[in-house]
């Protein structure tokens, strides 16, 4: 058992608290401006449908950034995050006027040598959107 983020005790197999982020079209615009990724599939429904998507979709990297916030919170700050990876398996679909969920949880996978590995789960509308998502943080 080790301490993380203050008094919290964790061990391999500990399931971390779930956190729900909400994504709407305004957040997609905000991320587009913050990241420089102005691909219209993330803002323009007509365009998104024209290229075969069901609707406007969130940037995969926005999903990863939000899950990254979950990782930073667990680690006790962004400076402690040393590895972070994910596969984009399904898009987060963001219909006009809706706030869709991004539900994040994690399980402690390994504790070794001052490092903690966590295996992350991210779903939206019940659909798994990230695959093989994991992070390594410094204790």
């Amino acid at each position: 058992m080790v301490h993380i983020g203050g008094a919290r005790m964790i061990e391999v197999g500990t399931v971390l608290d779930e956190k729900i982020f909400y994504i709407d079209r305004a957040l997609l615009k905000q991320y587009a401006d913050a990241s420089g990724d102005q691909n219209p599939i993330h803002q323009n429904e007509e365009f998104a449908v024209s290229v075969g998507l069901p609707n406007v979709i969130a940037h995969g990297m926005l999903t990863m950034a939000l899950v990254g916030k979950y990782v930073s919170d667990f680690a006790g700050g962004s400076a402690k995050v040393i590895e972070y990876s994910a596969r984009f398996i399904k898009p987060v679909i963001v219909p006009l006027g809706e706030k869709v969920d991004l539900t994040v949880s994690a399980t402690v996978a390994e504790i070794t040598d001052g490092k903690i590995s966590i295996s992350l789960s991210a779903t939206s509308a019940g659909v798994k959107v990230l695959g093989m998502a994991k992070a390594v943080v410094r204790q």
Binding site: M61, A65, S78, E83, Y84
Partner: protein, 129 residues
């Protein structure tokens, strides 16, 4: 189609990029991060993807960026990024294959702060058939 001869090539970024506090602030605002003294773990994707686009769409490399989707992403962070950091980016095309008509390209970005490696980032990019 990507020119297979470009696989294994490393392309150095021409200029260093100075990280601004306002860029970190804008990124933190999106994800609800209150601590803006350190860039969030995925912050540097902007620098990395901009350079990948610049390199991969060169005529001698030949990728079609307009049909591209992001397959996966990995970061290894050796030095956390802060405002004022000057970063240089070197990108390497690590592998390339075609599966069911989709082009699958793996690229690595190494961001250096001075002579020290700050962040390595790996992206798998897929050009849809």
């Amino acid at each position: 189609m990507l020119n297979p001869d470009s696989v294994g090539s490393t392309f150095a970024g021409t200029d260093s990029i100075t990280v601004s506090q306002s860029d970190i602030d804008a990124f933190c605002a999106v994800i609800g991060e209150n601590d803006t003294t350190i860039a969030p773990p995925t912050f540097t994707i902007r620098i990395t993807l901009t350079q990948f686009e610049e390199i991969l769409t060169r005529p001698e490399v030949g990728l079609d960026w307009s049909r591209l989707v992001h397959g996966d992403q990995k970061f290894e962070i050796f030095i956390p990024v802060k405002a004022g950091d000057q970063l240089t980016c070197a990108a390497t095309i690590e592998s390339y294959r075609v599966a069911a008509g989709n082009e699958i390209v793996s690229v690595r970005s190494d961001l250096h702060k001075g002579s020290e490696l700050a962040i390595s980032a790996w992206s798998t990019l897929v050009v849809r058939a």
